[in-house]
Amino acid sequence: MYISLNWLKDFVKIPGKTSAEEVAAALTSHTVEVEGLLSQAEKFSQVVVGKVLEAEKHPNADRLRVTVVDVGTAKLQIVCGAPNVAAGQMVAVALVGAVLPNGLEIKEAEIRGEKSYGMICAEDELGLGKNHEGIMVLNNKAKIGQSFAAYLKTEDIVLEIDNKSLSNRPDLLNHYGLARELSAIFNLPLKDYDKFFNSDQQKILMGLDEKKSGRKKSLVEEGAKSELEVKVEEKELCPRYLALRVDNVKVEESPAWLKERLIAVGQRPINNIVDLTNYVMFDCGQPLHAFDADKVKKIVVRRAHPDEIIETLDEKERSLNEDNLLITDGQKALAIAGVMGGRESEISPETKAIILEAANFEAATVRKTSQRLGLRTESSVRFEKSLDPQLPSLAVSRFLALLKKVCPEMKISGHLIDINNTKNEIKNVELDLNWLEEKIGQEIPRERASAILERLGFAVVRGEGDFLKINIPSWRATKDVSGKEDIAEEILRLYGYDNIPSCLPALTIAPPEINEERRLERKIKNILALKHSLNESYNYSFVNEDWLGKLGIDFLKHLRLANPLSEEQTLLRQSLVPGLVGNVKSNQAKSDNFGFFEFGSVFFNALGNLRKDIDPGSRILYQEKRLGLVLADDKDEPFGRLKGMISGLFQELIAYDFETEFLIPDIFPAWAEQSAAVKIIISGEEIGVVAKLSDQAKTNLNLKKKVALAELNFTRLAEILSAQPTATFKEPPRYPSLVRDLAFVIEERIGYNELKKEIAAFDSLVKEIELFDVYSGIKLPAGKKSLAFHLSFRSEEKTLTATEVDKIQERLVAHLAEKFEAQLRDF
């Protein structure tokens, strides 16, 4: 939002020595963030006043003139297309190098053979109106060579305010509201808003209370048109509706002062009537709307019918529904309440009479309508913050006062219609000053607190003891301020956050509960990155059908976003694998071999165990944290390396001699090569999977590397690991081991684990079993493989003799022959 410093000065006398920067800093410290300062004069840099000395017909073009203009420092030849240019005129000249408010950059040019060193400007080119009929002829106050900004007396500075920092403040999207803040911050008097109405307008307002006072509607002209009929069908959605007919208006271009102010706050001037409604909105915050009275015989405020259509002022057709509130003539829609007017009843140059609307619409309805239509307007952003219901009558008076100035011959016809369903009650809050001191950490004297509140428009009624009873002003009471905490904030922000001394809380020393899961996560991250040289990836939680399809993953059961940002990210991931495969793809050209890991959540369409809302039995959807790993290699299949990495990880986490089991899975992941896929078993429980990426997936994704992936349920893993006893020291063996190397030839289908378990369970003297070679090939019969082990035999009681070991070995060989048809292989 743009706020004009000059405009603020209408309401509060900011001393001359206070700079715009100081005003901005004060607002930022106490009220809202000022993001920038724009000097209006800068808009006209390189634009100067010049005198046209000659204006001759262009030798090669009928419509152009070749002029000579005195700009003080030089006499410039300028080619000009305007019909009204003539010698003797004082004009605005944009010099070479100027960038005009409409974005036009002035360069030296040659037009049909004649040199041109600048441009004589029309109003629209200077952003001062939409007149492009001819050049702007300046009045007799203009001096040759003077900067155009100085001629305009444009010394205004515009404050750019961050709208987000006032989203809770319905009272601040206007100059009067911010002037009130400045008056409170600088302790300066604020002019009453009704000082800006002349007595006539005040009488009109009093006419409102005609029924109460019994007074005659003195201001209504003789022979006024018949009374306008206004009906509000939705009292909740439209708590207040004011309408007034004004005749004898002349629609024309606004006067300079009006245009200048609107331009300063970033509005395009349109015509005097529309400009005045906008002016009042930026003045006091109340959106107004003016209808062409000839197009409006009656006003009915009602909900839209399903699929009802209205063409809005921006010349677009809008389709509405029953959640949208409309201003209608009983049948046809005239305007979308609080959002935008309709085209049909728009003010046009032919308009002779207007109906002015000043209303209060319910915030949520305006917001929903504006959201659904994608139509955010200056009006809707104000209404959606819950405006003060007292404001419409002030705005009407202000509008009339200004209209009298702009259109002196206007006549008010009929009296002001005011359908008021607001409760005119004053809300109040009780504040205990002891509580306030406790809350802030410092005493704020009663006088200081009261003064701050009163400057902001709160009425302080001194209560008993340390209590203050405070009436909330109507412009703060709609939503923004309701409790003592809100009052504390008002006092604190004006007292100054920087004036509160800091003080650490006096708390009992208590060691925090340790988050074991997170501690484990950090430990694993360090092992994987620092020991196994993997890189930590953070992939998006969203995936798409195409990518999953290429990996062979069924995407139908994936949760979907209702409003995805792009086609690339429509589904919630159920695995970290797709993201990690993506990491391989995007890096395969950058490195020969590499690996990534990721900790991340995955999401399922099933109820989880966390609560959803106030009902303790409600549940949100199931999600779990996973650990994913990927290795990519140019030469060697990384499947074995990845299994080794996982075994190593658990040895680090559990015990140095811990054994991770890899078994054939019951269900293969869709992306896995079935011949190289295993489930990971820790303490008898399946915790994840390791597999080679399928050739099909690699072809689909155009991956050049050999790839292996692993995925583990980290949430469960953390639980299992926390239940593991601490690994304790084991006495080194007292007697030596006898090591025998044995290779068994078995059927391909018999897994390593099966054979190994059988050996381990065979005799307690078998202490260590280490696989050192696997072979299958031409030297063995088809369908057979050989597994070669170092077997360590050891007793805790004595040194074993070779004979003793031979005997065990013999029995073992016989046992395995019986169990697996295993045969001993000679080396």
């Binding site: 950490g441 956050y497 988050n515 939680s541 976003l561 940002l565 959540s601 949100i620």
Partner: protein, 342 residues
Amino acid sequence: MKNKLIKLREEFLARLAEVKNSEHLRELELKYLSRKGELSEVLHGLKELSIEARREAGELANKIKGELQEKFLAISESLGQGVEKIGASDPTLPGEKFPRGHLNPITLVQNELEDLFISMGFMILDGPELESDYYNFTALNVPPSHPARDMQDTFYIDHKNKDGEYDLLMRTQTSPVQIRAMQKYGAPLRALMPGRCFRNEATDARHEHTFYQVEGLLIDKKINFANLKSLLEIVGQKLFGPDTKLRMRPKFFPFVEPGNNGEYTCFLCGGKGCRVCKNTGWLEIVGAGLVHPSVLRAGGIDPEIYSGLAFGFGLNRLAMLKYNINDVRLFNSGDLKFLEQF
């Protein structure tokens, strides 16, 4: 050709047997084995032979070359020194390369913050990334008509409740963990809640729809604004150095009252103004405030007995400042060339 090779071999071996010192050895290497040595010369002649003859001679040549190199190496080691290739005696050469892995910079910054707060008695808590509308908004004093709930800001899950409304979403902030923490642990409470958050907005160098926050919550009896200020000062000094100053500004967050943003003096220029702080001397880093009574109530805590303070940081922003990263999208890019730098 064959004969030449055999002759060369014999000659070399004979002379090698007589070698007494490294100088001698070096001479031998130059004469026979170096790039311009006799062996190379013979091998060079290979290309003039027929294909058949070339293969035969080539095999022999390679065999002899291997043998000679091996024997040369053995002698040179027995003389108590390695093969003297050019530069091999330079002890300032770099060491062997070892592979290294890398943590994401977000993890590094998050660890730093976690450690700081653990040292001050805070628990570290996690919460779900897929949240309910209730925990993400309603319980945090964001009523249904608040603009923060608009569709353009929040990713909703295409999963309607029995009233036909979308009431599940990707959390837009870590703040719902505040409510879950209060419900689980009650008061007093000290917790730090880091995590991934989502906003439905287009990405560019400065905006990312998936980002990381850290949020802190302290609830006890008589927690006040002076406490908040003091805590934030300590955090700033830990993050940006002992001379860092804090200033606080009003800022609206629905779940705190008063609501503030905290700015720290720029760590780069010390407050004088520079490119990083856009010449203001200050960096906007933290959102903070005293916990709104309705938020305490939603967490099951009586605001008449307890009060609290809360604050939050954007981890992406902290990491960008710390490491001078200019594009927020890099964090989620999985780009090795980025990750390798941390």
